[in-house]
């Protein structure tokens, strides 16, 4: 409300994870008492996820205005897709039991063949970092298979970094699922898994060896 709110513009730097640590702490304190700032954060907190699959090369380059016809066309296409998704979601809800059975049948025996319905999902950035990752979770008889794809979004990384994959269960249990090294200019595929069924996974973190979370996939 107040025009003098010193935190008014911190929301975007915060959701992108580029606010300095001390300011992050102060801003999170402030969020507890400032409904306006909390609302501003909620408004834009989905944006980093939308950016996760985009490479900087696609958006860098000369300021070339988008042709007037392109964006409305894309918006129309996406709106159609959204309507389809809504219809799909409605259909799923109506036939929830049948779908659940179908899903169990489809996913259960699929440890050797990838289930058709699994989709790779991007991790969101927790702190500013050039590393990006997507994960595909597949239910198996023994738990959940996790296929990770990991890469840097920039070519300016000049050394190999080590990362750990950590899973958090719905009960807060934390388990380390392995580690890998990511050299500059390389994409890596890392396969891991946990005994936890996917519906008992609350989130996956990709951390530095000291435990600092870099990327997060909230389930």
């Amino acid at each position: 409300v107040s025009e003098e709110d010193p935190f008014e513009f911190d929301d975007a730097a915060y959701v992108l994870g580029v606010l300095p640590p001390a300011e992050t702490v102060a801003f999170e304190q402030h969020l507890r008492t400032c409904a306006d700032c909390a609302a501003r954060v909620r408004e834009i907190q989905g944006v980093p996820d939308l950016l996760a699959d985009i490479s900087p090369e696609e958006v860098a380059g000369p300021a070339e205005p988008v042709p007037d016809t392109l964006l409305p066309g894309l918006l129309r296409r996406a709106a159609r897709r959204r309507r389809r998704q809504r219809w799909l979601v409605g259909g799923l809800a109506a036939a929830a039991v049948a779908c659940l059975i179908a899903l169990v049948v489809a996913v259960w025996p699929s440890s050797s063949t990838p289930a058709r319905n699994t989709q790779s999902r991007p991790f969101a950035s927790v702190i500013a970092s050039p590393v990006r990752a997507t994960a595909t979770l597949t239910g198996t008889p023994w738990g959940t298979a996790i296929d990770l794809h990991c890469h840097y979004v920039t070519t300016s990384v000049d050394r190999t970094w080590r990362y750990d994959l950590v899973v958090y269960g719905a009960d807060g249990r934390r388990e380390n699922l392995g580690s890998w090294a990511l050299p500059p200019d390389k994409d890596i595929d890392f396969t891991s898994g946990t005994w936890l069924p996917s519906n008992q996974i609350s989130r996956l973190d990709i951390t530095l060896p000291d435990g600092t979370a870099v990327l997060r996939l909230q389930m």
Binding site: V18, V41, D53, L74, L75, A78, A79
Partner: protein
């Protein structure tokens, strides 16, 4: 554990997950509609991994300006996505 007080991540909402399967093309197009200044701060921070201070130094602007440009840039992107969600265009 982490902050229960900050707003729930969007990913917790199943509808938001479906929504995220949005066209990459749309996101790229939306990014390209940003002004050069706004696009530059997004590129510098999100894509190149610079902190606010590093982005400020790289772009030759005060840190406060980096923050306010990010604020407006993300809002502009969100608005574009919002138009899509509402399905107002046809």
């Amino acid at each position: 554990v982490v902050t229960d007080d900050v707003p729930e991540p969007v990913a917790a909402n199943p509808d938001a997950i479906a929504q995220r399967v949005v066209d990459r093309d749309l996101v790229v197009a939306a990014l390209r509609t940003l002004s050069d200044e706004h696009r530059a701060v997004v590129l510098e921070t999100y894509f190149r991994g610079s902190s606010v201070a590093e982005a400020a130094a790289a772009l030759g602007i005060p840190p406060g300006t980096v923050k306010s440009r990010l604020h407006y840039a993300l809002r502009a992107l969100r608005t574009t996505m919002g138009e899509m969600e509402g399905g107002e265009l046809r």
